[in-house]
């Protein structure tokens, strides 16, 4: 009885997460067509205007429509986070699979590098990379990638080591399937689910990293909007225009909520046997 309730609840939550993520994704993709305003053109007659029918989420300190800024800012934040995490997923998974498959020295090198990257506090690594590479959108993506590479490498290596001993992979080897085909066809699809979970979580955390850096002023540079930059600006004017920080913060939370629930959903539908082993 209880179990059923929990299952239904979990399903509903995952569904809800998918719904929110779709909504956020729609906003991110269709942002430019959803709003009549420009994200960067200032309107000095409407500085820090409270929410109104014309500006549902009010205006910021440049008189720009906050909703429009959020829609465009989310594009930037998502683009940075998604590209960073996808790059990490590609590089990390390739390195991890290589480590699992080749073993030996290669595995030792990959794992030590991962240990190293993994031992930096995540935001410290991001901050450090900003000093090394300079501020800017692309460099944030690099920092996010560096934070996530060890996660993907470790995950894919450990999973691949588990899957490698599965009879169907042994069968593929014995049947003479080439290594690349074994990795791509036999192993990758069967470790994909946790990788997808990690991508969803990574995108969520990447947004936090981007926002944090932009918040400090080391991330996306004005007038380009990003969720962190909008919040940083909103924080300056919080006492006078609390809606900028609050509503943008809520938008960030909504996006993260969606991604987190979605990753839960992916986790739930993934092979429970595999999950038990992890």
């Amino acid at each position: 009885m209880r179990g059923r309730l929990a299952a239904a609840l979990a399903n509903k939550l995952a569904l809800f997460g998918g719904l929110i993520t779709s909504l956020v994704a729609l906003g991110v993709l269709a942002g430019p067509w959803l709003s009549p305003y420009s994200p960067t053109d200032a309107d000095f007659l409407a500085l820090l205007a409270p929410p109104s029918p014309a500006h549902p989420l009010g205006t910021d300190s440049f008189g720009r429509d906050v909703l429009t800024r959020i829609l465009y800012g989310a594009r930037v934040s998502f683009a940075v986070s998604v590209s960073g995490v996808l790059a990490a997923a590609l590089i990390g998974t390739a390195a991890g699979l290589g480590a699992a498959w080749l073993g030996g020295l290669w595995s030792a090198i990959v794992m030590r590098v991962c240990d190293l990257l993994f031992s930096f506090p995540s935001f410290v690594l991001a901050l450090f990379m900003m000093v090394v590479l300079g501020y800017g959108v692309a460099n944030i993506a690099v920092a996010i990638a560096l934070i996530y590479i060890p996660i993907f490498a470790r995950l894919s290596r450990n999973m691949a080591l588990l899957v490698r001993d599965e009879p169907y992979v042994q069968a593929a080897i014995l049947i003479g399937q080439p290594t690349r085909s074994i990795l791509m066809r036999e192993i990758l699809p069967n470790i994909a689910a946790p990788l997808f979970v990690q991508i969803a979580l990574g995108v969520a955390f990447g947004i936090v990293i981007e926002a944090g850096l932009s918040f400090l002023g080391m991330g996306v540079q004005p007038p380009a909007p990003s969720l962190g930059a909008i919040m940083a600006d909103g924080r300056e004017y919080f006492s006078r225009a609390p809606w900028v920080l609050t509503l943008t913060g809520l938008a960030v939370s909504l996006a993260l909520l969606g991604l987190n629930l979605l990753s839960d959903g992916i986790r739930d539908v993934m092979d429970p046997k595999l999950r038990a082993k992890l």
């Binding site: 069968a171 593929a172 014995l174 003479g176 399937q177 066809r185």
Partner: protein, 333 residues
Amino acid sequence: MSAEGMSAAAPLIAARDLVLDFHVKSAFGAAHGLRALDDVSLDVRPGEIVGLVGESGSGKTTLGKAILGAHRPGAGRILYRGTDIAALDGAGRRPFRREMQMVFQDPLSSFNPRFTIASSLALPLRLHRICPEDAIPATVAALLQRVGLRPEHAARYPHELSGGQLQRIAIARAISVTPSLIVADEAVSKLDVSVRAQVLNLLNRMNRETGVSLIFITHDLGVARFLCHRIAVMYFGRIVEIGPTAEIFANPRHPYTRSLLDARHGGSGHVATDADETALSIVDPARACNYAARCARRAPECLTARPRLDFDAAGHAAACFAPLPPASGESVT
């Protein structure tokens, strides 16, 4: 087919003096090497079914996998039709891959859960160019029919089929590339009693119809007796007795074989336990009978020398200094 007739043919596979060590963590100390195969030799002739029998950890699966190239032996040769393939891996192995296939214990995990049966069956056909691309669906359907399944099973995913069905498909996959040897590793031990017979009959039929050799790994002597022409009994990395099936059953020589046979009949044997070995002081385990610790017939030389496998005229050999007298009168049920 008699054993004598078999011995005349050149072996398909001849394993010679294989040694293979694993590095494992032991119960009470640091890691050490475990000798999984200790100087093992085995011939398999074309069309022959050889049973590898023994307890878990005896090395029977390791031997099967070493022959297939899944483990690389530390020493020794594996001759496939006279070519030593023991040291080959990767590209060097590939030409021999098609010749040797495996059927695993767990039917469900033998198939990639992401692909349909059709897709899993088509892959080896495509890989080894067994048939033209457009003939693949028909070939898959034919394969399924051959193992007693319907063509529509091809569209299913592994988890939608039962263990018996999957094991039959695994056999179909193995024979699809017309190999000369199939290693079946405990291929029926996870199956329900009622379908076990289906799979055993199928293996038997495939052997008869295609002439494929089988190495049949099992801990179940009854199953081995039904299927195998010859049986090799393994104990802790060594073959302790080998011979034609009927001989082994009628005339076990090695005390270990005898206790295995006894166990089938509900006798409990003597209660020997895992911890026994420590009670004995064996100076050099490599130069002692590895069954000595548990052996009721232990003689002093068992602790200092290693018994050899000496074949008699019937092709029957037991590695024992004090073998059981022949034809002890034990009835074979």
